[in-house]
Each structure stands twice: as C-alpha cells, then as structure tokens.
Symmetry: D3
Subunit: 290 residues, 6 copies
C-alpha cells in the first residue's frame, strides 16, 4: 500500500487548457526548426526532447529539422581550418562540407535522436541524402560571389519522411546533395521551410534565442503575438539582423501553403508546449494575409 505522502499536483490545469489545441492539431504535421540555446543548454535540450515526444504521443506528426553551425566551427578550429562567412553563409570548400556533414549527421543528429529515444518514442535521423529527401543547387552570395558548396533546396521528396513519420519522429540534418552527388551546406531555416511546404504542414516553428518579433528590438515586452503575412512583408525592409531571415522564412512557408509560422523563444523551458498548448502562447505567430 502506498503511504500517504507528498502529492506532487492536485490539479490538471494545463492538461485541460491543452484540450482544444490537441483537438485542433490532431494528425497534423508540425515542423520544428531546432537550434540555439534549446540545442546547446543541457537542461533545455532534455526538455526539448521530452516535449517532442509528448507532441508525438498526443497525436501530432512532429518533424525536427536542425543545423549545427557552432559545432561545425568548433571542429573546423580543431582541424586548423579557416572559418569564414559571407552574408551569414559559411564559405565552404569540399573539405568544409565534409566536416559539416560529419558534424551535423554523425554527431548533432545522433545526439538529438538518442535523447528523443530516451523519452520513450523512437526517432530516426535523416539527411537530405537519405531516400533522396533533398536535392540541392549551388547558391551564390550577394553580388554573385562564389562561396563554394553552399546550396539551396530545389526539390523535396517527402516519401521517406511520410514513411518514417508513421512510426518514428524524423530528425532531419540540413545537408543536401546536387544531382551529381556533390554535397552542400544548406541553411537549416530554409530546410525547415522546404520540409514544411513539401509536407503541407500545419505549422512551422522556429526556435530562436529571442522573445519573438519585437516592435522595438531593444524592448522584450514589445513582442508581437500575432501578425498576418502581409504585415510582416510590409515591415521587412526596415528590419535588420538575424530576425530578418527568420521572418523571411516564415513568409516563404506561409506562401508555400503552411497555415502558421511561429518564432518561439527557445530559451524558455517548454516553449514549444507553451506556444502550442496554452491560450497565452509565447513568441510570434504569423498567418496568411487577410
């Protein structure tokens, strides 16, 4: 017999608050771009894995897409390779891409897979090569500068994702090859957008290290909770820094048929669940133009 003791919780508040959202999202595809503090902070990455498993269990078709720039840089430094960026894109010779593939697919991806597995729902890691998931084409920097094996995603073959998402949580590393089999670095935000569009996702959620889209970037209380795509597009020219490509990715997703795009603060524990399953939400939610 269990002896009476400390009762951890005697209410089911957030569970009940979540019901209408669980109902709304049931069976739908949610693509999560994973990165930033949620991927580097040891406590946050455990919480992330747990949250993702919960999403799967309550009936969402969750797909994780990730990059891993800092780890690539770290390994390049260990190998005395030169690290250079143009327009925020990593200048990539063949050796750089080989290092990037090894780090993203062999290390970062498997770390995520193992953590998700541990919370009771098996994940399967994929790169753009597996099942011909992605086909890339070379991308030039602004002004047409050749920065090597940096690519855009030209084509997504969702068969392998649909196949695996039946029973597993797919975890996708943002690496892709072109038609000749040459590999390219691909921006992970772009990869998440491409996956969300190709899957006809209900939501794409970008985990970032800011509170969301802020009217005044210096004032975290100025976060805009909801916006329409046309408002974002109108505002885009006046936005600078890392928020601009994130908002661009949101707009690309919406234009590609994704219903909602979210910018979520990955530094907040359980930010995914808070944004998805509470009335208050967290971060910025963008929907199609009125």
């Amino acid at each position: 017999m269990k002896t009476p003791g400390i009762r951890p919780s005697r209410d089911v508040g957030t569970l009940l608050e979540a019901l209408p959202y669980i109902r709304e999202f049931h069976g739908r595809t949610i693509v999560v771009k994973y990165g930033g503090a949620a991927m580097t902070d040891p406590a946050l990455r455990e919480e992330f894995a747990r949250d993702v498993v919960l999403l799967k269990y309550v009936g969402l078709n969750v797909i994780v897409v990730h990059g891993g720039g800092p780890d690539i840089t770290k390994y390049m430094r260990r190998l005395d390779m030169e690290v250079e960026f143009v327009d925020g894109l990593r200048v990539s010779d063949a050796d750089t891409v080989e290092i990037a593939k090894m780090v993203l697919i062999g290390k970062v991806n498997k770390d995520i897979v193992l953590r998700i597995n541990r919370y009771g729902q098996a994940a399967v890691g994929l790169s753009g090569d597996d099942g011909n998931l992605f086909r890339a084409a070379k991308q030039l920097a602004t002004g047409g500068q050749d920065i090597g094996f940096v690519g855009r995603i030209e084509k997504v073959d969702v068969d392998v994702l649909n196949h695996i998402a039946q029973d597993y949580i797919p975890v996708v590393a943002s690496i892709a090859a072109d038609a000749d089999g040459a590999s390219y670095n691909v921006n992970a935000d772009e990869a998440a957008t491409a996956v969300a569009r190709a899957m006809g996702a209900y939501k794409v959620m970008f985990l970032t290290d800011v509170e969301g889209w802020m009217r005044d970037p210096a004032d975290p209380t100025s976060v805009i909770s909801e916006a329409h795509a046309d408002e974002v597009e109108a505002a885009l020219p006046s936005i600078s820094g890392g928020m601009r490509p994130k908002l661009q990715a949101c707009i690309d997703a919406i234009h590609g048929g994704v219903t909602f795009a979210h910018i979520v603060d990955g530094r907040v524990p359980h930010s995914l669940l808070l944004e998805l399953f509470t009335d208050a939400g967290i971060g910025t939610k963008i929907r199609a133009a009125r």
Copy 2:
C-alpha cells in the same frame, strides 16, 4: 495583431507530468463506470465529458458504462408506480423494465452522448441489445427470491464495441436482454466489469461519491491509495455498505484479467484525469495479488 493581455498560464506543468502516463496508457482500453455526483451535478458532468474527450484525443480507448437509477425512480414516481428494492436490487416487473430502458437508453445515454459530442469527439450510445453486445440471464435476490426482470450479464460480444471504438467513444447503458429477447435491469458496476473483462481492458474506473476505499469509513484522510487484490479480498468480509459491492466489482475485474481497478471520487472535478495523469493520483487503485 493580438493585443497583449492577460496570459492564462505560463507553465505546462500537468501536461509534462502527464507524459509518462500518456505513454503508458497509449492505445489501451479504459472502461469508466459513470454515475453519482459526476452524472447529476451540472458542472461536474460537463467536466466529465471534457475529460473523456481528452482521454480519447491523447490516444486512450475510453468506454463509458452507465446506469441511472435516480432518473428511473423519478419517472416511476411520475407514473405512480411502486418503487421497491431488495438487497439493493430494484424489483422489476415488465413495466418497470420498460421504463428503465426508456430512461437509461432514451434519456440518460443520449444526454451523455450529446455532451461528449459538444466537446469535439463524437460518441455513439449503445445498449446491451445493439449488436448483441450483452446477453443476460435472470438473477435472484438473496435467498432465491424472484424480484422480476433483474439480470446478470452472461455473455459480452465485443465486436460492436471494437467496431465503434475505432472512431467514436462508446457509451453503454446497462440494459440487456436474454436469449428470448426479454429485457432486464442490470447493475451498472457489473456491466462495467463485464465490458472491461471482455475487452481485456487495462483499467476499469468506478466513479463514486466517496473518497475511495478508507481504512476508517468515517475518516476521509484514511483513503488507501493502492492495494493488491488479495488484501481487498481478505478485508471484504468486514466491509459493509456500498463500498463492498464496488470492491467486489474491482476484484472480479482483476480476476478477469483487467490490470488495474480504481475507485475514484467523482465529486472532485477532473477526478479521472487526476487519477490517470498525475503522480499523486486520487482514490484507490487495486492491482493483482502479489
């Protein structure tokens, strides 16, 4: 744009606490005997419907079994019929059974079905007649007294339940006919037990108007959280009142292969969710003998 306002919750505590339970119960059958305050109190019955829908959405195969004695008595009184009980069983001539069928199937069952429907997951009401779900045999009162059309469930054909539970929440009224087509009143606790056994349920949960099984019935703090079936059987001879048949039903369920039988206080809002999805639980949980 959503104007900043009151944020109803900024934590997802019970949702996270629920994850291991959602995982454990996923795809399993949970039979809920519904009755008492949870069925008569207007606020509690709304909460019950909402909870049941949540259970379905997070992947449990939930089946509701109900009686409805007070409503039967009320209608009998309106019709100037005599209401008589022997051993807690309603003495039932043919007219009484007809009233009982009409009240349970035509009124109580449909009220439950409509309430569940409103929370976004369709329910389908069933009686023991539908799809030959139950076959009854006449039951005598203690000492062999004939009290009319009062029956035990001899046979459960789960085909119709399995059929409907694929897409709907089955709601079962405790009415059954014998092989000749004569209808009988059946005790709803027994009906829930019979359904749970036949379905190979993981849990059967009896909603009651007490805190659970108490060491001292006068002291609500003496609730026994967990017990083994052999402990319950050993204690049974010394237990009197309404708790005795409930505990007997629990033991019958366990002996019939049900993994856990619960006695839950239906007066507590969301008692189902608290018992299923929180570490503390609520009420008494009985498992097989050690």
Copy 3:
C-alpha cells in the same frame, strides 16, 4: 436417417424470380421507412424483421428508419400530458421531447433491434445524436406558428451509418438535436428521405397502411404501379390527406439523387420482398422524370 414425411415445398419459384433483382440490388443501399401496421401488428412485425434480415443476407445494404407516434401519445397520456397537433405536427415542449426520445430510442428502437437480432443478423440502434448523425433546426408550423421542439434535419453525417452498415443493420430513430444540443421531434418520413439522400441510396421505401398511390383513393384497384416524378409533382396539388406528404417525401428523395422511391402497403405480409423481388411488385414505384 430422416423418415420420409411431409415435404414443405418442391419448387423454388420465387427464389428464381428474385435472381435478377438480387443481382440488380447487390451492394446497393435501400432505406426503409418503417411504421404503421407493419410496426404494430404482432405477426407483421415478426415478418418485417425476417424480411430485413433476408435483404441483408442477399447482399443489400438495408437501413431502417422509424418514428413511433402512437407509443409517444400513449406514454404522454399515462403521464397526464396534453397531446396536441398542428398541421399534423406534435406540439412539443421540452418535456414532450424528453418523453418522445425515451419512447422512440429506449422502447421502439430497441424492440426493432431485438426482433432483427433474433432472426440471425445483428442490428444496431441509432438516434440522430449518435455519431452526430443528424443536426436539426427548429421548424415552424404553417403561418409561422411556434410549436416548440419540432425540427427539420439540416445535416446528415453518414460516417456512423457507413461504419455500422458494414457489419450490422442500422435502425435509426427520428430524433435529432440542434447545434446547441437541444433535442427535437423529427418527422420519420423526412428522416428516411434525409438518410436516403445523404447515403446516395438506390431506393427509399415507405411502408404505409394503404395500397399505394391510387388514382381514386376510394378504389384500391386503382393503384398506380409506376410513375415518374414529374407526373407526381403535377398531381400533387390535387391530392389531399396523408398520401400528400408521402408523395412529397418521394419527390424530395428523387430530387436528392435517390433512384427509386416506393410507397408500399405494409399491411400485406412480406410487402418489402414482394415489391423488391417479384416481377409483379406491390404498391407504387416512383422514378426520376423522363
């Protein structure tokens, strides 16, 4: 060894005559509006149950829809309630609807289900509430008079019917709730028509207590065996009495895509089989305009 004795039949005439019809109707949906003498006469209702089972066995998808006005009136009288009709519609306060639900779903429906079960093919009873089968809206009497909870069917969700009709004979009581969960009396002819249209039925058959549509209502030999919908529409203004709404229901069914609508004399034993499976037929068969 069987001793030679009386040989009940040495021909298989109607079986052979039925073959082309069995072939024609194989796999098709036939909605039967059940009522009148076929539902009240003890011998006829046994024959009806047997016939319905035969239809299912020879491969038709048979759906029974029923009302039960006389039983409702009988119970209202037992309860000293006032029984009032306007335009043939029962004036229905909330208490009246509650009685109607109890009688139709809890008594009449289960009687039909049990009788069909006994002939070897299980039936499942449904009301408009089960699986959100029907959604009703309030209907006013002629001149806009409010006669309470009397409704029209606005929407039919056939999922639950298709689900159950795979393995069972669905038996539908003509009760429906509106979007807020308030219940309404619904005319059973209308309910049968609504089901037939939503199911894309091949036939809807109305069992009545007359020979069919008669040129001269006083002359039973003047039954019109077959008619086109436009002939019926042209004749409608000059028709009075109970035949008029029946013929209107037939026309509504045809306009909604049902191939044939039949008015069949339910007082004739096995009228369903005679109309469906013999060359002569019985009653009136209406098809689309030329």
Copy 4:
C-alpha cells in the same frame, strides 16, 4: 405508368423458406460436381447456370467441377479412335489424353463458363494445369493393369482457386498433369472430392441421374434422405453399379473434413436449389459418423 396486368407471383414463399439456409451457408464453400442430364439437357443446363449464379449472389462460394466423358467419346469416334474402358476407366494413350484435354477444357468448360456469364456473374475456367491447381500420379486399373494416362490427384494447390473465387465462379475441368508435365485423365468425382477437401468445403454435391441413394435401387420412393458416413461405409460392400463410387467419393470427402456430401438428382429442375434451400430437400445428404 405500368398498366395493371397479370401479376406473375404474389407470394415469396420459397424466398422465405430459404432464409435460414442462406444464413447457414453464407460465405461457405460449396463444391458442385456437374455432369449427367444437367449437363446434356438443353433446358436443364440453362437452369443449372442460373442456379449457380444465384448461389454466388446470395453469398455462397460456389465451385463447379466437371468431366465430360460422352463428348470425349464422340470426338474420339469422329477421329476413328478406339474407345475402351477398364473398370469404368478410359484406357488412355497420349493421343486420347490430348483429345480429352481439348474436349474438356476447350469445349465443355467454355460452354459452362459462357452460360454462367450470361446469367450475370462471370465465371473463369480452370484446368489442373492452371496455377498448378492439381498434380496427378499414374493410376493402375484393378489387378495392376496399365491403362495409360489415367491419374489420381496427389496434390491440390488452392491458391489459384481462392484467388479467382473472390470475384468469379471457378469452373474446373478434371484434367491434371504429373510432376514431369505429362497430362492425365482424372475422374471428375474424384476431382470434386479433392477440391472440396483441399478447400475445407462445407458441402460437396454430386449431380447424378438417379433419385439419390435408394434402399431398393428399383424403387425411387426408397431414397434415403439423410445418412451418417458410418452407415454408408457399412452398406458399401453390398452396393453395386455407379452408386458405389459416388458413395465412396462422399465418404472420402467426409473423411477429408467436408461437413456434408450430397447425392442429388440432376434430372430435377433446380435440384441444387431444392436440396440447398428447401426444408424438404431432394436426394441424399451424408454427414460425419455419429
């Protein structure tokens, strides 16, 4: 409008009488050995085709097995070939078997297939070669006499039958090849028995040109309606003529797991339907020993 006229039938007697049998046989396999007058008489063979289609429509899995000795003999005579029998088995050199195959598969089988097709349910003809349905081994006449390519069925591969029986009526010619691909004449009663055993059939029915098994072969009123296999075995040594191998085939079928074996008078129109669907039956029905 249909003018009132002669109404061919106003009762559905045999249809109703058939219901319990339709229910009993639903989904079960019935193997019919086709031959004799039912195959040669122009009127009877039309009725046979119609009956077989009816059996399929009311849900039986009907398989026809046939020989065709008289047609073989006719063609052999046209070709001036010598026709010789030993123990009722046709002495068969390679040329004889070639003629037999051509006649049975190319003529008799296709005649049956075309007639069944015409009644609205497509048939597919098979020989023992198709899909490796049969494998034969050489059979010697009494006393070990070699009579050429006359064979017993050693093995039945039911895959092709099950495949085709899903949507078509299989019609099987009693020709089989051995492991080396040499073809053999096979007795059609034996082929029917082999198919019935391999399919786990519910019934095998032998159409013959006698009333059934008669206590006194000279007295048609002495037909034994039902018998147990042990009674037949006990009687066998005293039975002579063509009835003996028929009864032996019945016993072999019963011993191989077939529930009932029938000897039916094929000269009676619709004998199949009369035996299957009327209480009186026709012919002799044999079941397992008590």
Copy 5:
C-alpha cells in the same frame, strides 16, 4: 566440399547490361504475342518459357497472347474438314470454331502453361470467355464477304487479367464470344494489340519468323532497328505480305496508348531477352510519332 572444377562463367556481363532496362521496365506491363517458330521448335519453346519466367521474376508484368493456326489446320485435316482462307482469315463454320477453341484452349494454351509452370512460376490460361475478358463482333472479309465465325474484339474487360497477373503469368488464347455467347476465331495479333491497349501496356512484342521490318525484304541486314509510328504509316501502302498486318497492329497499339511496339525474330534463341535487356536489341522497335 565442392571439388574445384569447371567454372561455367566468370563474368556477369549481360546481367549488368540488363540493369538499366530492368529498372525501366519494373512493374510495367509487357504483352507478348507468341507464335511462329518460337512456338513450334522444341528447343525455342523451352527457351521462351524460361525467358517469360525470368521477365516475371525481375518485376515485369508479362502477359502472353497466342493463336495456333497450324495446330487447328492439323486437327481439321484429321477430321476431314475443309480448310479455306479468305484474305488470310480462316473461313469458319460453327464446327470449325469448335475445333479451333478445343485446339487453342485445350491443347496449345495448356502446353504453354505447363512449360511455364515447369520453370518455377505458375501460369494461368485464359480464353476470351473467362471472366468476360473479350467480347467479339462478327468481321467480314474484304468486299463484305461473310466468312462465318471470324470476329474482331469489341471490348476487353481487364479485371480478370489484373486479378491473375498479381500472382501468375496470364496466357491468353485468341478466342472470343459475342454478346449472345456465340464463339469466334480472332486473329492473335489483334488480340495481343487489344490486350496491350486495354492494359495500358508499356510494350507489345510480336514474335515473328523474320528479322524485323526490313528496308529490303530480301536483305536481312536491312532491318530497321527503330522507327516512329508516322514513318511506319507513311511506308505502309508500299509494304506487302505478312509484314503489313504486323506493322498495322504495331500502329494500332501505339495509337491506343502503348508506348512501344516491337517486331522480334522469334527464331533467335532468347530474342525477347535480347530485345528487352541488351543495348543492341534485336528486331524493330516502334514508338509514337515525333
């Protein structure tokens, strides 16, 4: 232990050369018109059976269509029947058609089926009667001369082919009946074309006893390896002899949606495999007009 001995082959050349073709043809339907030396020469017909089995094993949906004129003539002569041709069409009274059916279905077809079976992949023989595969209409000779039961194929019902092709190799004899059940001789090239069109085949291949379509019929080295349908049509008026109807059949197939039509020299061992799986090919391949 295997003793070292003669090693039959130490290269896998044609296997590798075949890969791109296997890939191209995987899952596609290939209809082979079988006839000529490949059907009469004992060695060639063994090779043919082996090749067809190989096609099935490497994933092609192969369907064999055959005639058998020489065998029909042989039997007609044995029966002292007059053999007469008009425009290359056999003048066919009812008796002639009966002989043709027996020979094609009962002898030729089963010989092919047995040979294919022996190479490890079961075949099922079909005529146009089985499963209503073909429906024929009477065809007149040039000038409207009535030459009896000689027919064109009016309709192909591919259900039975698709059914059988799942697990077996269908082998189709070119016999067909009209709507009244009267049987007709049908040209096997036409039958192959009709099957290929109805199946939406990727290829139809005509096995003939010439090298292919030759620029100069007297010069076997003038074979045209590939041609477009419009080239063939342009050349047709100037072509005489047996090649003309073959080329016409090719054009009919292409116009009916078949991607490629081949004329292949059946006298060359393994001509099917050489044409399908080697870069060189053999014979003439015709594709749609540019």
Copy 6:
C-alpha cells in the same frame, strides 16, 4: 531511326544462368558486410553500388552493413589523436567514439547512400541509434582489459529495418549506444552478423580482400568453395590472422539461423553478383552442419 552500328552483346548468357538463383533468392533477405577494397577502390565502389541496386531490382531484400576503420584513423591523425589497437579492437575514449560516429555516419555512410541513389534505387542510411536499431554493451579486450567505448550488440530491433527495406535499401553504420545513451564502436562483421540473425536472413556475405577461405593461405588456388559449419568449427583453432574472426562471424550467423554465410573476394569486380548468380560462384560458402 537508329543507324546500324556496333552491337554490344548478342547473348544473354549470364542473365539466363542467373534465373534459378533469382528464383531462389526472390523476396529473401541478404545482408552484405561491405568493406575493404570494394569500399576504397573508386571503380570497385561504383560497381558495388550498381550491383546492390540490381539485387534490389530482381527482388532481393538487400541490407548493407559497413564499418570504416581506415577513415576513422585518418581523421584521428588529422586531429593529432593517438591511435591504438588491442586485439584488433580500437582503444576508444569518448572523443574517439565521437570521431568514429562522425566519420562512419556522416561521411562513409552518406557516400554509400549517395552512390546507391545514383544508380536509381534510393537508399536510407541508419546507425544503431535510429529507431533503436541496436543496443550495445561494453566489451572488454582479452584478459578483461578495459579499452573504453568498444561494444558488443546485445539487442537488435528490426522494426526500423523492415520499415525502410520495404521501399529503400538500408545502409547500416556499425555504431551503437547502450541503454544510457553512451555510444560505442562496434565491429562491423559482428554488426552484420547481428542484423542477419535478427532478420532471419537467407545469406550474410562478407566482402574481404582475400580469395576466400584457403586450405593453404599462401595458395589462392586452394580456396574452399563450400563448407559445412562443423568443418569450419573443427578447423578454427588452427586458423590465424584476419580469416579467423571472419569464419567465426560466419559460424555465429549460421548458429543464429542464417542459411548461408559467404566469404567473398571484394577485389574482384561484381564479386557479389558472381557469387550469387553464377553456377561457379566465387569465394567460400558455408552452410549448417550436416
């Protein structure tokens, strides 16, 4: 029109020789341990990818398992890490395993996947982490020496393999984690054996850089073509060098239910096809003890 030119091959010898083997292996699982020259030589690795695609196309369920020791060593040297082996096992601290995972999964595995993709059949790369494919346990060197994160495979969960093998060629890297999520180097021969056993494979084939098992290791003509497991076990104590663990892996596979284990010379172009599809074979084939 194709101009007559060089015809690359006019025979289909090996294709025909392959037929009985294609038939035998159809639908069966073949696990290939890939390594050695076949993985490092640029020409051989192209041929390998092409061969594997051919195997898939002709209906084999082919699974590739690989290691990649030389690449790991190369990267460790680039990073100035110490490379040390005990008993042929790489001494592995956490950093070494991280490098090994990155090289095997992120580089070697994706190179194989991309090459297979290019030949027209998509592959999907897997590590032991994906879908919980492998669970490892720490392995000690001889004498119980702790050599770090070197593991044995304790458990194989074939669900993810079966899932992916339906539509793709699985390519498995020999990396595995223990129950706590710590990663281990696993010997690739062992991984191939574990996969073959868990899949109930028909064959496991080890590609090596020797001719096979030689009676006299110095004499390549002494290769033993076929052996029974008991012969191998008897010979094992007297065998030294790299052949010993290979033969041990073969025996483990056979004892685990794999039907055949092969040691194949990967330096020979198309060695897989030669061993599988030619009568001569190549290398050593081991089967269960007599």
